[in-house]
Symmetry: C2
Subunit: 262 residues, 2 copies
């Protein structure tokens, strides 16, 4: 059995200090009812790649880890191509699921002093000596990295990358950006033991089934069903949330089993 | 932040050896798709009370811990009256959610050599020197304890109790059995620091809101929503499961937020 027991004390302390009140002051912007999602992967200093995403969605709310749904499984496929199945850590620009896309209001929120200061402390604490590169996915992550003083060293060493969000609408542009990142990033990373990097480019037509990888059990809480980490398992009760504009105590997530044995 | 990181190595090893194949051979009896649920509470030898329940339901499948739904919150209320908010451990007669009630077929399953042997190893490993008493809730738990050789010492010391299942249909009979258990058990247990036992009996009319207690964060995985551990949050997609007789890959659980902030 492998699982992620939760953060080590240094990160648990930092998470306790997260600016949740700043999020809670904007109930029209964040799905506050599902609580904050902090990370996925290695917080013990063994991560060689730091990934910054946008925000958790329904799958992540269920599992309480970042990037475990379709977007996460696409990123996991990229990690596999980079030779990593363990030596990474993932955080998001927003601790809570956001309504809609990254927009000017979100950017303004991210500029709030408390929000920005805490986020930069988090990134500083993640940038431990063995870290070899940083990748941001999507516009919110780009802003996070632009606003992080610690990014300068990675930029100067050409070890900081911006790629499109893993579920960006236009597959050709998305996969072109991933191919560029893959080609430049692969030579910079020490692979995990037993994982052979595969820097062959993605076809620009779109993600194939084989381009996704399942989220490793080592990244998940104890005792999840055996099938967890693959498939599209979670949907909000009101799809698209077109009508639900603020957090509601009766908001719901539907969790569908991905196999007949767990 | 407090949370339960998962089992210590000695229990993780035991859980790895669980007779899951015996369950999986009976897909008409168990909701296999949600996987096994092993425990809630202390596995580090600090438990003074061992609780045996029946089987996990939808809430437990979500949280991956035993007794976190309404039944669990009723038991947690009893624990509070007994002076415990930490020093207990809970396991179930069945690792998987069962279809219907405890019946002759279930009893036959529980008599299978592999199932019984593993369950008794689990109970043996839980019966560490500081354990002061054992309580079984419901008929399945009664069978588990009857079949456990280790129960003899607790029986001889009048430290083994059988009470009705926390969601048994008839409240008067249920609460009468809980009152008897409470009165006999309370004097045997060392309370947790800062918890004052309250051995006053339950009114036989039924559980009141104040008779339930929330599941402590220390029993839950890392990073759950702040409201988790209270309320009735999980339902199966097909209520009552009258039509769904075998595990289905498209079985679903609906998770409803219990507050507008998590």
């Amino acid at each position: 059995m492998r699982w992620d027991p939760g953060p080590p004390p240094s990160f648990a302390t930092l998470f306790e200090q997260a600016p949740l009140a700043s999020y809670q002051a904007l109930p029209a912007k964040f799905r506050l009812e599902w609580g904050p999602i902090y990370y996925r992967g290695r917080l013990d200093g063994s991560a060689r790649l730091l990934i910054v995403g946008q925000d958790p969605s329904a799958d992540e709310n269920l599992v309480r880890r970042a990037m475990v749904g379709t977007a996460g499984q696409r990123v996991q496929g990229l990690l596999r191509k980079l030779g990593l199945d363990h030596g990474y850590v993932i955080v998001n620009a927003s601790l809570y699921s956001i309504y809609g896309q990254f927009d000017a209001e979100m950017a303004g929120f991210m500029d709030q002093a408390a929000v920005r200061a805490w986020r930069n402390r988090l990134l500083d604490q993640l940038a431990q000596p063995g870290l070899q590169a940083v990748v941001g996915f999507g516009k919110a992550a780009a802003k996070v990295l632009d606003d992080w003083p610690g990014a300068a060293a990675f930029k100067a060493a050409q070890r900081l990358f911006q790629a499109q969000h893993p579920t960006a609408r236009a597959p050709a542009a998305l996969l072109k950006s991933w191919n560029q990142t893959l080609a430049a990033l692969a030579p910079l990373l020490t692979p995990d033991p037993g994982v052979t990097p595969d820097p062959s480019p993605y076809p620009l037509s779109g993600f194939r089934e084989q381009d996704l990888a399942r989220v490793p059990a080592a990244d998940l809480p104890f005792g999840m069903p055996a099938w967890l980490g693959q498939g599209d398992m979670a949907t909000r009760l009101i799809k698209g949330q077109a009508k639900l504009k603020t957090p509601a105590a009766n908001a719901a997530i539907l969790w569908t089993a991905q196999a007949d044995q767990g």
